[in-house]
């Protein structure tokens, strides 16, 4: 398609890579600060089907970083506004919205997608997505922002490490942490980048790699972590898979 001419020259998108993206489906969990940057990244790349789940409504103080929304959207459901933006930006992309909170009971929603991007604002929902994805063998890309910093982590299906290895003491998250637009943009777009690489089969650069971005010094740091021995999530999944062999 002419829309993607410029990117089809890229390694990994040549020779069918772009078609892979259009045949793929991604569930975007969260249409807030991160989600409003993930979504344009996924849409621009040409992901063919995008699900958006969020139960929030847009408030005025979202507008410093939730770039898809305008003052006229205040009060509107984020899923609806995000889907409306997507329909205008790229009518060829199919979208589905889920205007509810993710819970253990409805997390099987992830089964309908090839990959999940966690763009949520609390650790509890991250852990819920982690468990739902690990148990079903679905890749998960987590991102987070905290002031002038941000993080990325890819959960590879089938062996960890997973988010439970990373956030073992899943305490309550600060409900109103500081949040800045460019930080949300950098991390959200990086999540979309990871999604593209994962969907085209190129995750060798970031499996198990916890990446942290310092937005003041403009530095990326990383450490590669191993699955926590005895992890209740990825350890159990690995055991089940071994039992099935």
């Amino acid at each position: 398609m002419q829309r993607y001419n410029r990117q089809e020259k890229l390694k990994y998108l040549q020779g069918g890579g772009q078609k892979k993206l259009f045949a793929a489906s991604v569930l975007l969990a969260g249409a807030g600060g991160l989600g409003c940057s993930v979504l344009p990244g996924l849409a621009g790349a040409g992901i063919g089907r995008i699900g958006i789940v969020d139960d929030d409504r847009i408030t005025f103080d979202n507008l410093n970083r939730q770039f898809l929304y305008t003052p006229a959207d205040v009060g509107r459901q984020k899923t609806e506004a995000a889907a409306a933006w997507l329909a205008r930006f790229s009518p060829d992309i199919r979208s589905e919205i889920y205007t509810h909170r993710l819970t253990r009971e409805n997390a099987d929603l992830v089964e309908d997608f090839d990959l999940v991007v966690a763009a949520v604002d609390n650790i509890e929902t991250r852990q819920l997505l982690n468990e739902a994805c690990v148990r079903r063998g679905i890749p998960l890309i987590d991102g987070g922002i905290c002031g002038w910093g941000g993080s990325l982590f890819y959960v590879k299906p089938g062996g960890g490490p997973c988010l439970a290895c990373l956030y073992p003491q899943a305490d309550k998250t600060d409900t109103e942490p500081a949040a800045f637009g460019t930080m949300a943009g950098i991390i959200g777009m990086a999540q979309a980048q990871m999604a593209v690489l994962a969907l085209t089969g190129h995750t060798e650069g970031f499996e198990g790699k916890y990446i942290w971005f310092d937005g003041v010094r403009m530095e990326f740091h990383h450490t590669v972590i191993k699955p926590q021995s005895g992890c209740a999530i990825c350890g159990e999944y690995a055991k089940e898979q071994a039992g099935n062999v």
């Binding site: 969260g30 807030g32 600060g33 991160l34 989600g35 966690a118 763009a119 949520v120 604002d121 609390n122 650790i123 991250r126 991102g143 987070g144 922002i145 905290c146 002031g147 002038w148 910093g149 941000g150 993080s151 290895c165 990373l166 956030y167 073992p168 003491q169 305490d171 998250t173 600060d174 942490p177 949040a179 949300a184 916890y210 942290w212 310092d214 740091h221 450490t223 590669v224 972590i225 191993k226 926590q228 021995s229």
Partner: protein, 82 residues
């Protein structure tokens, strides 16, 4: 001596990117941070991703992970916002 490396908010709270530390275990290291830099720095350090020579402490004994000469202990922030 081992090396403690701080990132993000912990750098601001300690006023340092790195410092040397005589070494014993992570629990004592955290106590050191609390004593020298206060409760807020301690809380920030404790909720970080703590690695020793690149390995997360969850696999090496958690807070009982021993610290030896020339070890590099990093405190990377875990970000929950979105």
């Amino acid at each position: 001596m081992a090396y403690l490396k701080y990132y993000g908010e912990l750098r601001e709270l300690t006023g340092a990117e790195q410092e040397t530390y005589p070494g014993d275990d992570i629990k004592e290291c955290l106590k050191h941070i609390k004593t020298v830099y206060g409760k807020e720095a301690y809380a920030e350090a404790k909720r970080s991703l703590i690695t020793v020579n690149g390995k997360g402490i969850l696999n090496t004994g958690n807070y009982r992970t021993r610290i030896q000469d020339q070890d590099e202990i990093r405190f990377l922030p875990l970000c929950g916002g979105g």
